[in-house]
């Protein structure tokens, strides 16, 4: 069988992953006195889970194996760093990973079974508004953004779900556009589409959340560029964004503070510039090769488990470790684009592209933020940062992307 044949190749990238996991969790095992057996269990479970998914994917042709390996590498790096930062957090994340694996297969199966996606375009904006209202009523403010719902001690970040709803909405629209435009006046269709899109992004701004709207806006802009035959809409959107940024810069305190922190964080190092300078200290003290796992002091970085996890990676694995993570995301994006390019059905094409762009831009925004290349906004680094909602949603998206990849392979085009 093909799946087993590839396993015997010594240069199979799978073995790099296995080697990395073994080294990483052995290191965590011997780091403490007495030795930390829990690290071995977590590492073993993670490795077993990844191998199982890899083999199942190989045997039953469940999508793109490379994308799976890249994702597995990212979650291994994330789990290593999180466990090193706080072993109880590492354990929780491992449990979330287990849940995410299940969600991955669930979404993989469901997405294939449901064939009426294109006909329920109105569901996605509606669900977004519903989620928004839910958080307005029951929500809790975390780090200045009111986008969390706590249910029986479990917290759900609704913006993570809206992210996925948004790309579904875009995919549905572009697959249905011709039909809708035949039925209704073209200008009205376009107007309503733009309005709904901006509403979905704008709702989150009302919750004082900046990262996800910016992410969705970037995805939206590229989707406009790719799928609109007429570039005027793309340009109009750009002008609107420029105007909105200017207004934001002038009148919104939140944005001004962040721009000041980007331009000169040293001026107010104890206040506005604190987070970003602490992150820069960490990246700087890591130098090119890093201080070594467990040898740095990433505990000095604020929010290191979520937003600033990339700084911790740079401190302990060095700039080369950080560059490896960046390249993994680039490879992931490449595989995603490849899937999108090979689809002929617009819905699948747009959906694959939307999900891929979400992964890529989200990684870019947060990494650029913590290295002070761009405005810092609080979003997670996909597959690496701590967080149940984000991990589960990312795996759900990955499951869908993999199903599209599988459809493309098995049914001769999707």
């Amino acid at each position: 069988m093909k799946a087993f044949k590839t396993l015997t190749k010594p240069l199979n990238p799978l073995y790099m992953l296995v080697l990395f996991d073994i080294l990483a969790f052995f290191l965590l095992y011997i780091r403490k006195t007495p030795f930390d057996t829990q690290a071995l269990i977590v590492g073993g479970a993670l490795l077993a889970g990844t191998l199982l998914i890899y083999i199942l994917t190989g045997i039953f042709q469940l999508g793109d194996r490379y994308m799976l390996l890249i994702t597995a590498m990212l979650i291994s790096i994330g789990e290593l760093i999180l466990y090193r930062l706080d072993s109880s957090l590492g354990l929780k994340q491992a449990i979330w990973l287990g849940v995410s694996f299940l969600v991955y297969f669930l979404c993989y199966g469901l997405f294939g079974l449901i064939t009426f996606w294109k006909r329920i375009i109105w569901v996605f904006p509606l669900l977004s508004v519903l989620l928004f209202l839910l958080t307005m009523v029951f929500g809790t403010t975390v780090n200045g953004s009111k986008n969390w719902i706590f249910i029986k001690g479990m917290s759900i970040q609704t913006s993570e779900i809206i992210k996925l709803l948004f790309v579904f909405f875009l995919a549905c629209y572009y697959s249905q556009r011709e039909r809708l435009m035949d039925k209704y006046p073209r200008i009205w269709v376009t107007l309503i589409f733009m309005m709904l899109s901006y509403t979905m992004m704008g709702l989150m701004i009302l919750q004082r959340e900046w990262g996800t709207p910016m992410l969705l806006f970037l995805v939206f802009t590229l989707m406009l560029y790719i799928f609109e035959k007429d570039l005027r809409l793309f340009l109009l959107n750009g002008i609107a964004a420029a105007a909105a940024s200017a207004v934001g810069l002038l009148f919104v305190h939140h944005i001004r503070v962040r721009v000041e922190a980007l331009v000169n964080p040293w001026k107010d190092i104890a206040g506005k510039g604190y987070q970003i300078t602490q992150s820069l200290f960490a990246i700087g003290s890591g130098d090119f090769f890093g201080r070594g796992i467990g040898l740095g002091r990433p505990d000095f970085i604020p929010d290191v488990k979520t937003d600033f996890i990339f700084s911790a990676i740079c401190e302990e694995m060095g700039m080369f470790g950080g560059a490896a993570v960046i390249l993994l995301f680039l490879l992931l994006a490449y595989r995603g684009f490849k899937i999108a390019l090979e689809c002929s059905d617009t819905f699948y094409k747009a959906l694959a592209l939307g999900i891929t762009l979400i992964f890529a831009f989200q990684a870019f925004i947060i990494i650029a933020g913590v290295i002070k290349l761009f405005l810092l906004t609080g979003i997670t680094l996909p597959f690496i940062s701590y967080g149940g909602s984000s991990m589960v949603v990312n795996f759900a998206a990955m499951g869908i992307l993999q199903r599209i990849a599988a459809l493309r392979e098995t049914e001769g085009g999707c």
Binding site: F281, L327, F337, L341, F364, A368
Partner: protein
Amino acid sequence: MKTDKKIVHALLVICLLFSMLIVYLTYFELFVKDKIISNSYNQRLNADNSSVLRGSILDRNGEVLAKSQFKGETQERVYPYGSLYSHIIGYNSRVYGKSLLEANYNDYLSNRYDAHTLMDILAKLEGFDPAGANLTLTLDHNLQAQAEKLMRNLKGAVVVMNPRTGEILAMVSKPDFDPTGSKLEASWRTLVESPDSPFLSRATQGLYAPGSTFKVVVSASALDHGLADKVYKDTGITTIDGKEFRNAGGKAYGEINLSQALSVSSNTYFARLGTDLGASALKKAAEAFGLEKDVPFELPFNKSRFPYKEMSQTDLASVGIGQGKILVTPLHMAMIASSIANDGVMMQPWLVKDIKTVNDITLQEGKPRVLAQPISAQTAQALKEMMVDVVKSGTGKKAAIKGITVAGKTGTAQNETTGGKKEQEHAWFIGFAPADDPTVAVAVIAEYSGSSGGDLCAPIAGKLMAAWLNGK
């Protein structure tokens, strides 16, 4: 298809954005990080790996010179002998960072050296808590304490070393300071602003005119050029190119040869010898003895200076008596004395005997290393005999030790502040013992003391050599 082409454009945008991240990170690590990580808001500077106990520093007999202990969550560094080792061990301050051995061996002391992960496992298997590695120095605590006592009211430096191996046995620079964290932090400003420069490690970084002690180098050159029997008439004063050179006290010694001239430290003799030897011979001799050369050492070590390109007649005469623009460090003078003691072979000085883990695995071991051979064994032997005469019957009598033959040379050096005034001169002594089989060499300087090397420094050197030879 047009959409697919645009998708490729989007992919290119993503590629561009991600390469920007990598380029910026590289730029940051190369050009930005050095400027920012020393910012006082970087808490790493203060909280260096505080969970692992910092290693100790011991003398050659296991006496603890520096150790760390836990005080609640944090560690504190304890220096049982206060200021005694401040110019060797340096300080390890939460606020002001680290210096000297504390800085240079920080990786070992704080358990960050390359193989520490493996060593930690071995330590754990033997039931030890992983801790920083311990440094054992070549220093002898008793000798160091005595040297400090003898120098207590002076400014200057003492270096005692083993001429056969290059091991540093004692090294004191005065004034010094208490490196204990709380005291250092309380007195930092005073120390930094003090005109006495207590932070200057004079033994290794102080540059002084060598004065008459440099006559041994000039003598070595004379011996190599067959001028051992050269006789000049010493009238107490000689004029070279319009500049006067006088003997100390204006004494005239009559017709003297090289050996007699060294013994009484005749300036008129050596000034003329300098002009007779000429620029290339003097320069060659100076370079052979290591002036203008960087010498590897565990502490910052300034190279001694011989900054002449062209030399006039007065320059030659000045260098002949160890004045002019030449500058040396006390440690370097001890190395010069050692090389004469060690049959002309100059050993590399060293301070760290070994580095061992908490469970006694040796990570690094110091070894005697030959640095150079400035002179032949015969020349060394001849110089040695001349230097024995200096202590037996010349200017260095006060360095004599009962029952042991001592070789030495005194020096009294004019410097930038004297301007002809005696009360600002540096007093020097270099020497070694026992002359027939030397095991200890010394250099002593008392800066701006106004005394002569024979009166002030020779007794200090004698006492230290006696202490070492009798103590063993």
